[in-house]
Amino acid sequence: MKSKIFYTFLAVLMVAALLLSACGTTDEEQTTEEPVVEVSETDAPVVEEPVTEEPAAEEPATEEPATDGPCLIIGALYGGPINDAGYNQAMHDSVMAIQENIDCVEIIEAENVPEEAGATSTMENMIQQGAGMIFATAFNHQYPALTLSQQYPDVIFEHAGGWEMSGNFANFFGEPPDTWYVMGVAAGLMTETNKLGFVAAFPLGWTNTFINAYTLGAQSVNPDVETIVAFTFGWGDSAQEADATNSLINQGVDVITMHVDSPATVLSTAESRGAYSIGFQSLAAQEFAPEYWISGIGFTLGDTLTWLASNVIDDSWEPIFLRCGIADGCMAMGPFGPNVPQDVQDQVLEALAAIESGDTVVFTGPVVDQDGNIVVAEGEVLTPDLMSSVDWFVQGVTGSPQ
């Protein structure tokens, strides 16, 4: 029967798609020992092969009524794969740093967690496994986490980059805008066509702020510079990212950077076309652009998260709206690439020092948007709470901020 063949063919196609999507295997992740399953306590410890990254953290399985059990179980959830050389990897590395610094914590992780209500059951399960602290790192995990925090007042919730606050719900994040300014300086000095390309996921307030800071930085050393923005409308859409990168380069752009989850696609595409690139999210990204890498910035929140976790352990945790910049060690700048001349490096480091000392404040008025309107008045400064809802681009940016 014809329709049957159709069905079979389609079904096989779909299975193949499922299998293919499963192909990017993750490297072995050392997470937890014995699950604390309520019903049955197994006697034998689970097979736990010696792990690649941190043998020190090996602890005896907690099968007996735990006298020396973990002092805190931390649940961490990520919106994408933790080996993406980007945002999720940076968050994963930061969370794992807690384990390195505090021996007695136990960390349970989940990657590729769906957004919004799709994340609820993962967090619920973590709490049922005994998690006393939850790190929700994807942007759209904020509201499900907030809802759960009302159900579980004893569990501490920390969201990456959000704004909601409650008695047991707070947030943390790095402060990328300053570092974007520094990256802009580097890009402005390196470009020859005076066209910078920015591949961005969504016209999100923060993304617009990054693009603005980057452009202002570039203009500070090269007034003729123009930033062209291309949106992909997906945090992890590799095909779109490659397309966007190529079309930017076709328009004459010679320095590419991005704000998507994983910089891998954009960087390697730019590399193959011989365009300079600047990394963001995780410093692990440099491997994708060995030759044309200028520099990059990444989140290094390990110490901050460790501090938060230790506060939870000794009961001194308070909900704070935590933002920390490059001067606090929450962001880090990557090494320069092989093609970056010494004088450029010096100027970039100078700009960085000026940012760190507070001599340069990125969004000091007057700031003028694309249409010539003054968006930050003379003598005023754009404050971080406004940066999350920026819906304008500064002059010199090509693209629509909405």
Binding site: V46, N125, F202, L204
Partner: protein, 351 residues
Amino acid sequence: MSQNDKNMLKWNQIFQKILDSAARYLMMGFVVLFLFGIILLITGKDPIQSYKDILTSTLGSQYGFSEVIVTMTPMLITALAVALPTRIGLINIGGEGQLYMGALLATWGALTFETLPVWALVPLMGLLGIIGGALWAFIPGILKSLGLVNETIATLLLNLVAPSIVAYFVFGFWHSPMDTNKTPNFVDAAQLPTFFNSRIDLSFFIALVLLAIFWYLMKYTRWGLEMRAIGGNPQAAKRNGLPINKYWVIVLCIGGAIAGLAGAAQVSGFYGVLLVNFSRSLGYMGFLISWLSFGDPIGIFITSFVVSVIITGGNMLQLTIGIPYAVINILLALTLFVVLAKPTFLKRITI
């Protein structure tokens, strides 16, 4: 043969059938578990412990069980949206697109009529979802009845269009700079009521009622008979005076309406917000489930239950034994693969 003997024979047949299908499902389950066990061993995990975790986390706790129900609800409805058109020989791969369009219209209702009370807003959203899905299915339906385009191709291609339309509306009209890829959260009145202190919402019961109606319609009504006649041999049905073009359009629209209802239920019940990519292939899942169960209502129920156990339990494995997410996808794919590789296992189960 006496009446009694006939009855005996009938019961014997039914018993035999149940035994057969039980054996088939057990056999397939065993093959899957064996294959996946090998993969787990290769990645260095204990398969027995993994399976125990899957079962305890889904069937072993009240919360886990409720999550299985929550996961299977949209699949039940989207599977039905495929099963119904299958009965008259139409292949509706468009569940995904119809789901999106239903969600889109329901979202419009939720954002526009925020002030309505819950008893008015929720039914309105359901109705809008039905309209959205039906309209989206009307396109391939009318093309098919005019003899222009095969409905398989048309529904499949429209799947690619619908999410883009949703994205256009979200980014164009319902977007604030504080949000990435979603609309503002809905008001409470736009959310389906939930039951049992869990996330099981009204749509689960709607799905069950729809399944029952579908079963009744097919078995006991003239429409069901006519639809099966058209599905069996359209030419003969036409010669017998059945308006097959009309049937094609209407049935495809009803299928689309059902999928659209699933979309409305997802945004209203599960999410309470419209995410640009909220579906994660629910429409395609429904298609697979409908196919695996040959459109049989009980089969649809069982298959979506098994798939949901694998999905929810599989996600749990990330937390308990720390296997990567990708491996869980393999488990699901293996299940489907084994079922496909051995079609003789699944002889047609008639209702």
